[in-house]
């Protein structure tokens, strides 16, 4: 890995973040909706202050947020804030900033996302690899088939089906929420177990909803790899089947899968957020749902940008990991 490669990737990362920020900055300004006005109009209807006062409040607010400045000045200030991960204030929960809200809900999302993504990637690639491995017993190869059929079922629908069958019909697991009603968050085993029980269905929905894709692409990869010379060579050397499978076949087939993983990150994260919202876990997804329902635009834009930046950074990290996985890149 040369310095030039690192530099080019970093420039690319900056470009991606800049493009996303620019889109998110300009689109709302093209629209006729005025978030401040809508929010204060709502407050005026429910809270009972006169429309005249409202105009004054809006004017002072616009001044405070710099919305009376020329567009380019605003844009520059906005880019400046993005660099410091400052997404402004939430309209709905005003004194809190969007970054505060994200920080509060992030641990939930990271926990769910990490566990389900890793499990899905590992299970999917293993099953896909076995499905294409000619020397695996037939029953082992056929385990993959039902998972391939799941490819057409998006995680959101998987979530609804699981809530209905496992949660509602069989009553094995809770229908949603982060912990049982009446529980107070504390550091006891009973609470931890209760919380884990509430995480199982969302995790399963994400795993079942994405594992089929990994199985399919890994199977395709495996079919190509097994005809390669180095696999034949390993066979003629008399290596054991397990060794060939692990060190020659899987190792080589996995590399493109890691690239695929980096490309799929955006979809993976988006699905996780929507599923989370469906189950009402207190993560970023539920926050996004609430923000959409309450027209809290700064929060919507902040969440979108935060996720976009995270995905872009993660993709770059995965690319920097290639040399560790692939000796050909390391040595060249």
């Amino acid at each position: 890995m040369t310095l030039k490669f690192v530099f080019r990737r970093l420039v690319f990362l900056v470009l991606v973040i800049w493009a996303a920020s620019t889109i998110v900055f300009f689109i709302p300004r093209l629209s006729s909706r005025n978030a401040l006005r809508e929010r204060f109009g709502e407050l005026a209807r429910t809270g009972g202050f006169s429309p005249g006062d409202m105009e004054k409040i809006i004017a002072s607010m616009q001044q405070q947020f710099g919305l009376d400045q020329p567009l380019l000045t605003q844009y520059w200030q906005y880019l400046h804030n993005i660099v410091r991960l400052d997404f402004g204030y939430s309209l709905y929960r005003y004194p809190s900033t969007v970054s505060d809200l994200i920080a509060q809900s992030l641990p939930w999302t990271i926990g769910l996302l990490l566990v389900s993504t890793i499990l899905s990637f590992v299970i999917g690639n293993l099953l896909g690899g076995i499905a294409a491995w000619p020397r695996a017993p037939k029953w082992m190869r056929s385990i993959a088939t039902p998972f391939i059929l799941l490819t057409g079922v998006p995680p959101v629908i998987m979530a609804i089906l699981l809530i209905f069958f496992v949660g509602f019909k069989l009553k094995w697991l809770p229908l949603g929420g982060a912990y049982s009603v009446g529980q107070v968050p504390n550091l006891s085993w009973t609470f931890a177990l209760d919380m884990l029980r509430h995480q199982i269905l969302p995790a399963l929905a994400l795993i079942f909803g994405s594992v089929g894709g990994w199985v399919l692409s890994m199977r395709g990869m495996g079919i190509t790899i097994q005809g390669e010379d180095y696999v034949n060579f390993a066979e003629h050397k008399g290596l054991t089947g397990g060794r060939i499978f692990r060190d020659y076949y899987m190792r080589n087939a996995l590399l493109p899968q890691v690239t695929g993983f980096a490309l799929a990150l955006g979809t993976v994260v988006t699905s996780a957020i929507i599923v989370e919202g469906l189950f009402g876990l207190p993560g970023i997804g539920t926050m996004l749902n609430l923000a959409i329902r309450s027209n809290d635009f700064p929060t919507i834009y902040g969440i979108v940008l935060f996720i976009t930046i995270t995905v872009a950074v993660l993709m770059t990290i995965v690319e920097f990991l290639y040399p560790l996985l692939d000796p050909r890149i390391r040595n060249s």
């Binding site: 998006p154 209905f164 919507i300």
Partner: protein
Amino acid sequence: MSTIAMSPPVEKSIERPGKLILVLRYLRRNKGLAVGLIILFGLVAFTVIGLMTVNTKNAYPLSVALKKPPSWKYPFGTDFFGRDLLAAMVVGMWQTAFIGVVAGGLGTFIGVVLGFTSAYFGGWIDGTVRTVCQVLAPIPVLLIQVVIAGSLDKRDVTIITMALIVVLLAWMGPTLVIRAQVLTMKERQFVAVAKLSGVSDLGIIFKEILPCLLPFIAAAFVAQVFVAVFAAFYLAVLGLGPLREPLLGNIIWAAQSQGAIFNGWWWWPIIPSIAMILILGSLALINMGLDELANPRVRRTE
């Protein structure tokens, strides 16, 4: 070996089977494509027959009795707002198809035009198109669509704007696919021969390259329809769709907001879910089948 050598030539007259027979024979080999097409045909039949026989007014709120479970009168039940779910499925399926075909078609069209110009003419055009695609690719499209749909005035959110929002950020995939194909095609001998014999650029593009790319374009179109249906569904599930319309995602959003499963109205979210699985499943199968048709190297070696 010997048995083959001994068997006499059976065919007396070589008859070329008709086109239909050939297609059917191919479908027997490409089972995924066949199953996908059958499901899609079933869905289209359901929608068309439904549009002709079912009262589509019942797909909108306050038209039938509330919260009735599936019965003879309402095969799919009715929801909390008084929509007949059968009528809602018919209309929702039609709207989903509309979004899919319009957004998928537009996306593929943009992709084909950009992919062709970029690959065929090369130079700075190619550089720009490629860089823009690469920079936009890592951005989670769905979230940007959330921003666009969220910024729109609620009255402006219709089935047509949904399709346009979806297409706005979904042309990069087909552009890159078509570009890659044209690049390899450009180096083939028949293109060089055409060029040497003085065929114009447009002539080469339309008469020589385009026909060879048709299977790829068809595959890209189906993939694009899948992406569009999926994106519109997600936006609607988040409550960003045209809320009055019985789009499948909208129904699920409404069911979720009213705690349908918790209250025991299970059919309300489950029926649109099953419809969505059938739609996406058939598109995925057709897409994989077309990939196999377009790209024989993907064909299974089993």
